[in-house]
Amino acid sequence: MAEKEVMLHIESLRKEYPGVIAVNDVSFDIYKGEVHIVIGENGAGKSTLVKMLAGLNTIDSGTLKLEGREYKPENVLDAQAKGVNIIHQELSMMENRTVAQNIFIGREPVKGFWIDKKAMNEKCRELLDSLEIEIDPSTMVRDLSIAQQQMVEVAKALSFQSKVLIMDEPTSSLTSKEIDNLFRLTRKLRDEGTSIIYISHRMQELMEIGDRVTVMRDGAYIGTREIKEINMQELIMMMVGRKIENAYPRNYNEPGKEMVRTDKLTGLRFRNVDIHINAGEIVGVAGLVGAGRTELAKAIFGYDPIESGAVFLDGKKANERHYSTTRAVDAGISLLPEDRKKEGLFLDMSISENIVQAVARKLFKNGIADKKVENQLSEKYIKDLAVATTSGEKLVKELSGGNQQKVVLGKWLATESKFLIFDEPTRGIDVGAKYEIYSIMDRLAKEGAAIMMISSDLPELLGISDRVYVMKDGELAGEITREEAEFTQEAILEVALRGKERS
């Protein structure tokens, strides 16, 4: 094999967030003209790493060399100018602009003073045609489906001349035909000498598109292998790194009576959802991004509209068309939201002020807060949940992700809630804290709570849940229980991608 030319040299790259070392002294090389897969479990630091490469995250320490020259991206623009582009995991588009305007923003073709719309649309058409994307350049982005929007993002990134193109889980909401197109194009770019860094969870993709693979775990570099020489068993060992039997502390109990039931629940992004959860059960909800899981949770909690159907808790109607969070909280439903910092916490308030929020209405009936009662309450939950803090007066924004999650949990436990919805409960939380959160969930189930857990982390979902519901395009597409032989990641993905008929 010919000697490999190094395109991007990564040395001792490091990034630290409060309480978590996201990327810890990572060093490896990306060759010219290769598809380099970066793989690892959720929270392994893959996204943080590539965001540093693309100028989206600042670099704490370490050096980068692009084609032998020092490379230190100031921001996305600077990275783009130097030839490093990224296809984001999250969409960032201008909804009220056309496809062509989104793709060519900032470099619109002009004829003298005027924008040459015709040329812009033609250039856009050529680009989309080359990708075999059947979208009209003059369509408004708001009128596209999520998958189509993602294809437009891909097209935009490909329209730049890239030395290094980073794809952060680009296929998460694409159809198999679109994935084929993307792969065809990826190979073409690779053969032309572009280096592609490709982040994925899916083993199948890795085998199909990758040349080499780098494994990361808990923010650290584990190793790089040639895909052709890799042994699947070895790869999984590298990713997991330890015996995983004890990663999920869960004692399965005999489920109690039915605690939660939804009856043909229909909201904006899901329809006719019938689920039931018994006391003492942890039920997982799986699905791709956009499948409607979070929206379902928010509707059950009375935050998002319910169009028809109802939620029953302990046999009593807890929420329906005239939805409200007040009603849900009073009935005993709680939600630990996906975006903890924005939706779950008051970051500039203290731990005790946060813990008392949901129960304050019941606790202080005359409307006057009693600091002593507040402190007693928070004291109790800080101890009970082992929140690592010196006092209840500490501001929540100063806590680590895991401890913040415990504060959210404390807020709900204070209301003596019977039904807890965890939406991505361990996202951005380090391994040790994850274990603690799982333990608490297990304990709550044992004490008779009904728990619903939404997670994109399939091993976690399988490790903790008694049963898993799978959603696809806003519908309940399947249910897999622990007793079945098919209680596997593959089974869940199969249903999540293809829907009911083939499961």
Partner: protein
């Protein structure tokens, strides 16, 4: 295409407004007189000139509250200069307008730099410059009114150069057409929409957001300055309160015209209709003998109604869109 979009967006509000105008035509005596129409058009013209800046500010998902204050300041400062001459020459009149425009530009630049570069809150900044403008207008003449200008100066707005149509209307049409082209057909225009739609996305796509913001407020200031002087020419008097309430009428014209506060959507076409509707509504109330205090109240109620209608129809659209994307694939 931009125009088509606007019309689609405006339609609900347009029907309501059209209905109102028809009702006034039928029930308000003298509403259909040519003199009344000329009056409405002239009033619309001044409002429209300053509403262009407001449209741009709102399209970029911000707002320019300073417009009324800037009008007052530019009106008073330029009127002070002009009042030194018994019979000003064409050059002196030109200088009068230039002074007004420069005063407006100065205010616009303060707004733009504070907001665009130093990232201060646009409500606070333009609120402060509004106050500065009104204050400065009083300072320069100790609160006195300047009135009784020469015929040549009055002719700039009120004269009829080309026959039947007042000059101020022709000037406005010219500016509106230029600004429409600027918004719809140039990079700068596109980038105003882009910044209003998603500032983050715009910045990450290589648009220099501070530059866009500075230009938007500078243009808004220039037009407010010009509007102030034109208003003096049209009314033949300059007082420190001359711009009072224009910022609110401008916001109303933009909102009625279907450019929502969230930015990135809408355009000048709607604002033209919005300004016409407001001035027709006010003229109708005037002819019905409604006091100016009540006029202001009724305009407020009218805007409130439009917002309610708009929010309901937007929500319906949003629900339909969500259903389409998430259900029928």
């Amino acid at each position: 295409m931009m125009v088509k979009q606007n019309i689609k967006k405006v339609s609900g509000i347009m029907w309501a407004s059209l209905l109102m105008v028809v009702l006034m035509l039928i029930f308000v005596p003298n509403f259909s007189q040519p003199r009344n129409f000329d009056n409405i058009l002239k009033n619309t013209a001044v409002l429209l000139i300053i509403s262009i800046g407001m449209t741009m500010a709102i399209l970029s998902s911000q707002i320019d509250l300073s417009i009324g204050g800037v009008m007052s300041a530019s009106a008073m400062i330029s009127a002070m200069y002009l009042s030194r001459f018994e019979e000003p020459t064409a050059v002196q009149i030109l200088i009068t307008f230039l002074i007004g425009i420069i005063v407006g530009l100065a205010f616009g630049l303060i707004n733009g730099v504070m907001i665009g570069i130093f990232k201060y809150n646009y409500w606070l900044v333009t609120f402060a410059t509004m106050s500065m403008g009104y204050g400065l207008a009083q300072v320069v003449t100790n609160g006195n009114i300047i009135a009784g200008f020469s015929k040549t100066f009055r002719h700039v707005a009120d004269g009829k150069m080309g026959g039947a149509v007042s000059n101020v209307i022709i000037i406005t049409i010219l500016i509106v057409v230029i600004m429409m082209l600027l918004l719809a057909r140039t990079r700068f225009g596109m980038h105003i929409y882009a910044v209003g739609d998603s500032e983050q996305c715009a910045a990450q796509s290589g648009i220099v957001v501070p530059k866009i913001r500075i230009l938007v407020y500078a243009i808004s200031g220039i037009l407010a300055g010009l509007g102030g002087v034109l208003l003096v020419s049209k009314t033949n008097s300059a007082s420190a309160t001359i711009g009072n309430g224009y910022e609110f009428d401008a916001i109303a014209a933009v909102i009625i015209g279907g450019t929502p506060f969230e930015g990135g959507k809408g355009g000048l076409g709607g604002t033209v209709i919005g300004a016409l509707v407001i001035q027709a509504f006010k003229a109708g109330l005037q002819l019905m003998g409604v006091s100016s205090y009540w006029q202001q109240t009724l305009v407020g109620i009218f805007i409130l109604l439009i917002i309610v209608v708009d929010v309901i129809s937007e929500n319906q659209k949003l629900i339909k869109k969500t259903r389409r994307i998430y259900r029928d694939e």
